[in-house]
Symmetry: C5
Subunit: 355 residues, 5 copies
């Protein structure tokens, strides 16, 4: 994980600031460009072939959503950036997938970076960077590869469900962020299940297997989710507070709603952290309990049979004169003594609750 | 627990914002509507049959408390919301029981979400969402199912006990919140008893049973209470500070009192957390102490009888010529030596305080 | 402890706000009323028989200190409260001994709640609630039962020692708080001794006795002291900052002095917490060290005698043909071999520093 | 480490403030002075022989970067400082390599201290102090010894790559800091690898070797990186906020970019700390697991053979009358009993999952 | 330690505020009074015999430094205080050595309390209270007993080294504080060495000796240093920020320098705390590792010899008919079997890496 996250440093070290270099691993053969253009009455949905096809929307009266997939096509992204007058550092941040969630207010547009989180097929936590540019009448979204998180939004635009067609670009921005944040809940949910699973494993742990590395891994996972969620909360709070003409008062209520959701997610993460924090201790007590059990078996077996063996040893000695050996029922007498000792020790261990 | 808390995500994922969907599990066949309408002199108490029956109170001169039970009746709640001009996101929050305690100031009304906490019959901590809407002359309260936490308040209205009949709707709001917060004290009390119980169990722990999962569960319980209390304290503080014409200066003193109570509860929770935080360590030392005891028994038994058995073994050898075997009192001499060794070892272990 | 602290909830649940109910356990047959009335030149000291006897001081020109003992006499306290125009919530707080230290500014008077701490005869930490009302020319103090913490102040009034007779009621308030805070130092001191004692016990711990519960109890004690001291510091800071005409600038320097003392006490508490926090770990290492010692004795005894017993066993076998048995000095040869093995193992354990 | 860091105290104790004394260990025979002087059109690059050679740049119209290597040449640095009118305390700080990253605004110039971090050939974390002075048209940088961190910047100046030649001295300052901060990423990366390595070692730990000191050392390393990064973040934040005419608005965006990078680094450090924090616990559970395994082997061996040996001992006794000894197949019968006991115990241990 | 720190409470309990009582243990027969009086051109250095001898400096034009040693001479200090018009609470604080570092601005003078820290001959951390009063043209310093921390300053005054003779009394104050703070570095250094020593001891710990108390003691030592340093940093920050005419702008730069130094010291303390925090865990893993080693020796010895002894026991039985006993080479055959078992077990333990 840590290696992937930091690859940029290797590729970029020594580059001039504003150099636009893709730092991710997922590449696509072709840049996917999707454009939704709508007013309250109409909407059009197009798969664009060339980056220049989306230049026309800059000054249209309609609300436009341009969605790009495939950050490895840096040339096209640079062309788009130049046309829409985005700052070089913004373009650098879009293709550098190691960004921390943040918002930059560039007066004529708002630039937001956030992380889409999901569990892939093999239950690995995957984090994908999504950049959003909010202009007066458009939103441009940049994704590493296709995710279908936005599918319900496309549907709502197509069928004019909810308010989306009646509102302006800032509401569109809100729905995109909301879709991503809603997915955090399912991530948190899976995480919660994983923690409960691990807790049960730890509790019933047969000592065959070392669970400490699993605990440590889960801790790491929670920290990664935390890293996506907490800065985003700051981002949304800044959007709520900072006055920018790009986001209308009417829409602010909706951003407050996202903020509430993020606080809920954040609460869950903090609780998860506390629970995981206690897991290692729980594991340790569990191992110690198991050891206690092992020790008890040993102690009971040894404590009972060592004295008995000693007695047998006594009468195995070859002294010329050992009076007991001559007794007729000496052998049975010894058995009697041994059984008494045996019962005494069993009683003693019972009283100590070891048996 | 975590599953219940997060169910909303499954049901709601991909829904347009403002969709009013009940996310709880408790359903009622019929929506209970209860209306208290009072002035200093008179009061009426009605069980309403239909949601439209409570529309009339919107512009009355009296103070009205409408209490609704059964959040699964979303249609009715929507109808009420439309009549009382509540924002769609407010209605969404009312029926989405995964809310964090919060207050939203919508100018013409104040919207408050909080959590009612109690231990059910099987001593499980139960959390129920209560939403409160404070209008100029009314308070509407929304509950998942009937709780009798508000019974004393009904009594006070009926018999004009205390100030309640002489004050306006903001004081009514205060009494409702106060009733819920007062219940936190009994939750905290039970929690304190549970911690003490567990502490005693841990202290006297026979190693038969693993208590670490109980410690972890109790920790979770405290975290859940914390999650209800701490945000509510922020809510009350915001009510105290933010100036809203809906809450009169005279009533603010009472909200300050709630704030004091919540701080007391919060103090108790933090102390509980610290105590629980020490429990796992206490448990570990206890297990280790037990193991020490087991080890000592083993060590004493083995250390005493192994050397003695060795001596018996010596004289069990079949060498042709072992002079001691011929001694008349050889056997008794060996016994003497053994008893000396035995006493020596007992003395040694006594000195070490192992016996 | 937790039970006592929370009793109020049981008695009060469902009561209207402002209900004046004593929640403590200590009751007195008779309400003690003590009145000191003084100017720079004169002073009078009276034991009042009836609550109405202290009504006259409300508008006198002299400085008056009325000290009440016995919070179970709620009727009298209510009568006093009505005469001195105290808010019902203030009266409720006075007799509800579960208050957190706080200050309320009611314009015509200042209401302060704080905790008197001391160790009783059996070295149990005892916390007693003291409420103070500062009026223009009087201070009224409410105590659960007689404590002699204020005795030195009575002396100073009687003999006009220090500045007390030359200053107004705010300075009197200061001296009362100062007397209570000064007592915190002796509590902290005893606590420090207790921690050192426990540390020594843990260090030299014979494993007979489980100290973890003592550590946990001491932790609880520190948390209780903390709970009295930290909010009081906030209280004093608020008095220092908030401008109230009741406390003169000249007296503020003295409150700053209390604040300094409380910071010292708070520092000590935090250090105590850190030290106690380390105690459980120290105890665990100590137990583990002890176990190591036990294990070593076992290992040394077993490792030395088990091989020797094996050799004895060899020559105890009854094979027809065992050549060594025929050797003249076979027996002594075996002894030689055994002694060599014994010395070898002793040397080995010496080298490992186990002996 | 700690010794190196604090050497200054020994050398400097008792010196008058403003005494310019080099506290580092790395010395150079000759002070390296390198001067880059450029405008958008031209640039010159010189290796200066004498400190006075760089006096001329003070009032030139071009942008100048003077880079000095070898802080042990305090006389030269003092001469330079006097010419460029630097405060004596600034000069003291330049040669005292124990500084914490900081920025001082001296109106006519800005003084910044920061730490260059890298891993040397033997993978030891090395920290080198770099001081930067930003004047109106120049930047002077002071290094302990040559580091080639700035090489890419020299290249950019030479070949007019990026914006560097078109901007003023504040942008030059930015590129220098940016180059250092970029290197933090590779430090963080190596640190991440080290942590993963150690985690794997801990996980698979053979008990031959004590890893706790390695964990402690790694912790120390993270704390050292933290100490370089966190104060620098404050420094950059202060530059962003504080208005100084030396840094133009246009350049502030770039400083914001550094701030973002530092926050990323800081996030990584905090995650590293949490992971390392869990390592000791993980190690302890691992050791305990290993001990459990050892104990099980002992317990199984002892529990099986001790009872069997006891039986053998019984029939090794020399009583005159032991009936079983006379049985024809007594010997085989005993073997049968022993095998049954053996199988019973194996079954028991299998059921307990110890085998 | 805790006892010394809190002695004041015993002596002072019940005293009127402003009572001037020395609470320290170090007493001097005679109060040492030393006066340095200087201008840029001249200086005089006198050992004063009587406290009244230093009254004359109050209104002189020169800068005067009066240094007093021996806080037990409270009468003299009171006389001095009255002459220089110091507040009674200030005098109380000077002789009460349990003060926390603080600054009080009394308009006509500034009162500063701080702690001088050093390790005495037996390497015990010693803390001595130093009080400083800054007047318009004088500084009065109060020490418990002579420390030679100020010797370099005396030298600088005598030989007019540095700026000291050219500056006013605020600069003198700065040099005194600076001298004390500089000593913190050597305390930190020794502390660092102690931690490293202990770390090495813990790492190589033979289990003979319990190091947990040493860890706890070192923790306490760090906490004591922290207690001296952190409040002093606040003090210096307040001096920097609060505008007082007693400290000139020109001197503020120097106080900022002290602040930087204190932040460095504080950083070191925090790192020390983290390192010590890890020590107990490190110690525990170390003990557990040692125990593992002990257990392995036991397990190997027992596992090898117990089965062999069992075999020897078998052929020690006295059954009439044991066929193997008759075999000619039965004895050697048994030896062969035993050696095979021995080798098998050795191989097994080798494979497990226990040997």
């Amino acid at each position: 994980m840590s290696r992937k996250r930091l690859q940029r440093s290797k590729k970029k070290l020594g580059q001039a600031p504003g150099s636009i270099i893709y730092t991710g691993e997922r590449t696509k053969d072709k840049l996917n460009i999707e454009a939704f253009d709508f007013t309250q009455e109409n909407y059009s949905e197009k798969e664009l072939q060339h980056i220049t096809d989306c230049f026309e929307y800059k000054f249209s009266n309609t609300v436009t959503w341009i969605n790009l997939n495939g950050l490895n096509h840096v040339k096209d992204i640079e062309a788009l950036g130049n046309h829409y007058e985005l700052h070089p550092l913004v373009l650098e941040d879009i293709v550098n997938i190691a960004q921390r969630p943040k918002v930059d207010d560039h007066e004529s547009y708002l630039f937001i970076v956030l992380k889409m989180l999901y569990y892939d097929d093999r239950q690995n936590l995957t984090s994908e960077q999504v950049s959003l540019v909010l202009g007066n009448n458009y939103v441009i979204s940049f994704q590493e590869s296709e995710g279908d998180v936005f599918e319900p939004i496309r549907d709502r635009i197509r069928h004019a469900k909810g308010r989306i067609r009646t509102m302006s670009s800032d509401y569109l921005l809100y729905t995109l962020i909301d879709a991503i944040v809603d997915h955090y809940f399912s991530v948190i949910e899976i995480l919660g299940d994983k923690i409960e699973d691990l807790e049960n494993q730890v509790f019933s742990a047969s000592t065959q297997q070392d669970l400490s590395i699993k605990i440590q891994d889960l801790k790491r996972e929670v920290l990664r989710v935390r890293r996506a969620v907490f800065p985003l909360r700051e981002v949304i709070n800044r959007i709520e507070k900072n006055e920018t003409s790009l986001i209308k008062n009417k829409t602010l209520t909706y951003f407050k709603d996202i903020s509430d959701h993020l606080t809920q997610v954040a609460d869950n993460i903090e609780i998860s952290r506390e629970i995981i924090g206690g897991l290692m201790g729980m594991y340790l007590t569990n191992i110690s309990n198991k050891m206690n059990e092992v020790m008890k078996v040993l102690t009971i077996m040894a404590s009972i049979f060592i004295p008995l063996t000693f007695i047998a040893g006594i009468y195995g000695m070859n002294f010329n004169y050992i009076p007991e050996l001559q007794f007729k029922y000496g052998y049975f007498g010894v058995w009697g003594v041994m059984i008494l000792i045996f019962l005494g020790l069993v009683y003693y261990f019972r009283k100590k609750k070891w048996l």
